[in-house]
Every structure is written in C-alpha cells, then in structure tokens.
Amino acid sequence: MESLSKRAKVLTKKPMTLAERAYLPAIFQGLSITMQHFFRAATKKQVTIRYPEETRPFSPVFRGLHVLKRDEKGRERCTACGLCAVACPAEAITMVAGERKKGEEGLYREEKYAVSYEINMLRCIFCGLCEEACPKAAVYLQADKMAPPRFERDEFIYGKDRLVEPVSPDLRSKRGIQLTPEQAATLRTQTA
C-alpha cells in the first residue's frame, strides 16, 4: 500500500553482531561515560550550591522581607493610613493608628503614626501591592532578605520591632533618633 505522506520508513531489525551479543564492549562504553562524569565532578566546579554556606544570588527585582522605612532625619514615614492593608490580597497586614504626642516630632514624621504594625509572613504572598499602595513611601520589600524559617507559627508575625528600619548606630542621638552626619559629629565632640 502506498503511504499517504511518503515519509514512512521501513525498519529492519538486524541481527546483533558478535560484539553486541558479547555485551562487554557496551559495558566498557558505559563505564567510560560514567568515569568521565566522575572526573568532571572531581575536578570542575560542581553545579550544586551547598545552601547554608553558599547562597544563590538574588535577582535585583526580588521581593523579599518587608521593611518600614525612615525618612532622611530618621523619623518613621508610616502614618497608619491603612492603604497597604486594604491593598493586601492575602490580608496579612494589620495596624493600630495613634496620635503623635508633643515632643515626639523627632520620632514620627506626621501627626498620625502606627502604634503597632504587624505583617503575618505566613499569609503574605510577597506580591508587592502594599509597596505600590503606600502614599508615604514607607513600606518596601527588600531585594536581599527573606523571612527565615522558624519553629513556631507566632514567630512569623513580624511587629514593628522587626520591621522598622534600624537607625544606623553611629548616627544615633541619646534618645535613639537618627542625626545628620554634621549633628552626629558635633554630638561626638560634645561627649568626648
């Protein structure tokens, strides 16, 4: 019968040659292949990444652990408007708003601030919508940090103690407020 596509090939099963039937040449061929892999593994750099000691490089657009930013004077930017919590599709963010007292101007930028701000890292899907929603440029997802594994579920609820950007230690006043480099220099000369 004529085949329609004319691409059919008729295969004939040839009888095996003596070398094929003896099986030993094939074994040695296989052994040489695995030996090549052995020397490749022993000499060249392996593709395996030994995780806790080595880590994969993060992508620059990676969305990792959140941070609550401070402004250039070290004041918390967050005003507890709640837009991030509204934007959050996983409902991972909760906060309690409070009014800034007199004398706390160095701590909080606006009159209203977040008394508590919690993100549940088990609920969070790291989509970055909170970052987009924030009108005060306060919340960001860091590109170089991940929420590390922990043993207890409640340890995944990150409060302000772990979210707020730390003030760099040498630029800190006695009350813990970030200073400009000039202010820090004068403070250092005063105390010394």
């Binding site: 074994i27 052994l31 292949i33 695995t34 892999h37 052995f38 593994a41 030994r50």
Partner: protein
C-alpha cells in the same frame, strides 16, 4: 607453634577483623560519594570534614531506630538471619594473605589470619554459607517479597557458584594447590619474568569477576533486593541495626571478593620489581636481608590493599553504571554462557599446560 607466635598471630587476626569492619564502614561512605560523583552530584559532606563522620552518624541512626518485628514472623530466625550473614562475611577474610611475613629476630609473623592448605576451599565454603543468612532472614519475615528475594538469592548464588568454581579450577590446574599463600607466591619468582595469573587466565578472570558480582548481590545482579519489583527483597521487613548488619555484610563480602580476586589473579602481595628492590636495599643501602625483606613485606601489604580498593571502586563504578538484569537473563547468562565458557577455559588451560605454553 610457640606461645609467642600464637600471640602475634592473634594480633594479626584482630587487625584483619578490625580492618574488614573499618573498610566495610567506609565502603558505605565511599559508595555514596562515588555514586554522587558519577552522577555529577556532591554526596554526603555535612558530617565532619568531607562528610567523613557520615558512617558514624549512620551507625547512630541505625542503632537508635525502632526494632520492628512483623506479625507472624519467626522471632528467633528473624534475629538469626542477619547475624549469620554478618558472621559468615567476617569469617571468610581469615585465610586471605595480606602480606608475606615479618621477621623480628627468630619470630616470624605471617600477615595472614590462618594459613591452611585448603584456603580457597574454605573461602568457597564460607561464602556459600552466607546465602543462608539471606534465606533465613527472608523466610522468617513472613512476607511474600522477602521470600521471593530469598529464593532469588539462593538460586542465583547456586548458579553462579558453579561458574565461579569452574573458573577457579583453571587457576588451580596451574598452581596445583588450594593454599592462597602458595598461589600468591607462585605468581612471582625471583630472577625471572613471571606474570600474574590475570595474564595467563584472562577469560577465567572475566568469568570470576562476573560471578563475584552475582555472589555479592551487587548490581547488575542485585535481584535479591531488587527494589523495583520486591520493595526491598529479603530485607523488606528489617529495620534498625538488623538491617544495618545485612548492609554491612554486603560490603564485607565485597571486600572479601576483592581480596580473593587480588590474590588469585593480581598477584596478591607481590608487586613488580620487589626482588630487585630488596637486593638494591641490601647491596646499595647496606641493610640486612631481614630488614629489607620486612620493608618489602610492608610495601606488599600496602600494595594488596591498593589492589583491593581498586576492586572495591570497580564494584561501585559498575553498580552506578549498569542497569539490573532481568531474572531470566541472569539465569541464562549463568547457565548457558558462563558455565560453558568456564569449561572451555578449563580445556584451553589443560591444553596449554600439556603443550608447555604456560605452567
């Protein structure tokens, strides 16, 4: 035999015993590292430097796991199985000559557990007992898979022992003795070209090494534990250190098989130019003949272990290269190919000896 030589011999036995255990321990590590390297992986590297403490960690794991007895199992035989496998595996290294002899004054210490004139027969006897450990364990588990594995082990070992014995007969025809020490010494004679048995018996060696793979239940002949068909084969129901003993016994068997092959076919503790080296030490370095001989003996012992390690590596290399045989293929290879080949090898050897080509 004086009390002193008896004490020395006891020490040698202890060292051989300890070495077999140590080598078997590190075979588990070597197997994993070699497997990893052959597959472009890293292998165990967490415990200690380069993962060298891994066997210890494994031992702790094995000892602390739950000891499980299946319902309806014969408890006594269930325990006896792995014990027997371990005992027979350890017994067979007693007659392997790991070195020639050391001489201190008038004391001569042979680096061999016991020297008996039927050494090879002893090894064969003990190795064929080894299958009872697997059979008893598989039967006592009260499990179909275990029983199938045990039956496979028994028939496989019986089939391949035949071809192995026939391959060995060709060596015995040349040596005229069953003593492993004598066979080793015959493979090197001072002052003349003398080849190892592998040169004179290439076919016999190939048959022997194939059978050694089958006897030690290693891939491509590891049908008794064939996990794709039989879950775990004869050790399906075993847990904790009883399983550990089975795995351990397998590695000791690999070690013994490697040792036997080094002795029978690769000159044992002989190494090239050993007599020339001894004479050079005596004449140019001004050593006494006894000291020079002792140095040669120690180098020979190192040499035999290097040969053994090379064989162990080969065992692992093959394991991670070849797929498993089907059971009918295994039987066909044993009965219709290896046994006729071995008989042909005997005839060939006989002819060559008669016409004086080899002796």
């Amino acid at each position: 035999m004086t009390l002193e030589t008896l004490g020395w011999q006891g020490l040698v036995i202890l060292v051989v015993f300890g070495l077999s255990l140590l080598i078997a321990t590190y075979c588990t590590y070597a197997e994993r590292v070699i497997a990893a390297f052959l597959q472009d992986r890293v292998g165990p590297d967490r415990a200690g430097p380069f993962g060298l403490a891994q066997p210890l960690a494994d031992a702790v794991k094995m000892f602390t796991k739950e000891e499980f007895f299946p319902a309806g199992a014969n408890r006594a035989l269930f325990i006896f199985g792995p014990c027997l496998a371990m005992i027979t595996a350890l017994m067979s290294s007693a007659v392997i000559p790991f070195g020639n002899f050391l001489q201190f004054g008038s004391t001569v210490v042979h680096l061999q557990g016991i020297e008996i004139n039927v050494g090879m027969l002893y090894v064969f006897g003990i190795v064929s007992l080894g299958v009872y450990g697997i059979m008893i364990g598989g039967w006592a588990s009260n499990n179909k898979f275990s029983l199938l594995g045990a039956i496979r082990a028994a028939s496989q070992n019986i089939s391949y022992e035949l071809a192995m014995g026939l391959a060995l007969i060709a060596v015995l025809m040349m040596s005229g003795t069953l003593s492993l020490r004598e066979i080793t010494l015959q493979q090197s004679v001072a002052g003349e070209w003398h080849f190892w048995n592998v040169v004179k018996q290439p076919l016999g060696f190939i048959i022997f090494i194939v059978c050694a793979f089958a006897e030690t239940n290693r891939t491509p002949f590891d049908l008794p534990e064939c996990e794709t068909e039989l879950v775990g084969g004869y050790h399906t129901e075993y847990s904790s250190m009883k399983l550990g003993l089975y795995l351990f016994a397998e590695y000791i068997n690999v070690f013994v098989a490697s040792a036997v092959m080094s002795v029978l076919y690769f000159g044992g503790f002989n190494f090239p130019f050993q007599y020339e080296l001894r004479d050079w030490l005596v004449s140019s370095r001004g050593m006494e003949l006894v000291t020079a001989q002792n140095i040669i003996t120690i180098l020979g012992a190192v040499g035999v272990f290097l040969k053994i390690f090379a064989f162990i590596f080969f065992f692992m290399w093959v394991r991670w290269t070849l797929p498993r045989f089907r059971y009918d293929q295994l039987m066909r290879l044993g009965w219709t190919i290896l046994i006729p080949l071995a008989i042909f090898n005997i005839l060939l050897t006989g002819g060559l000896i008669t016409f004086g080509v080899i002796k």
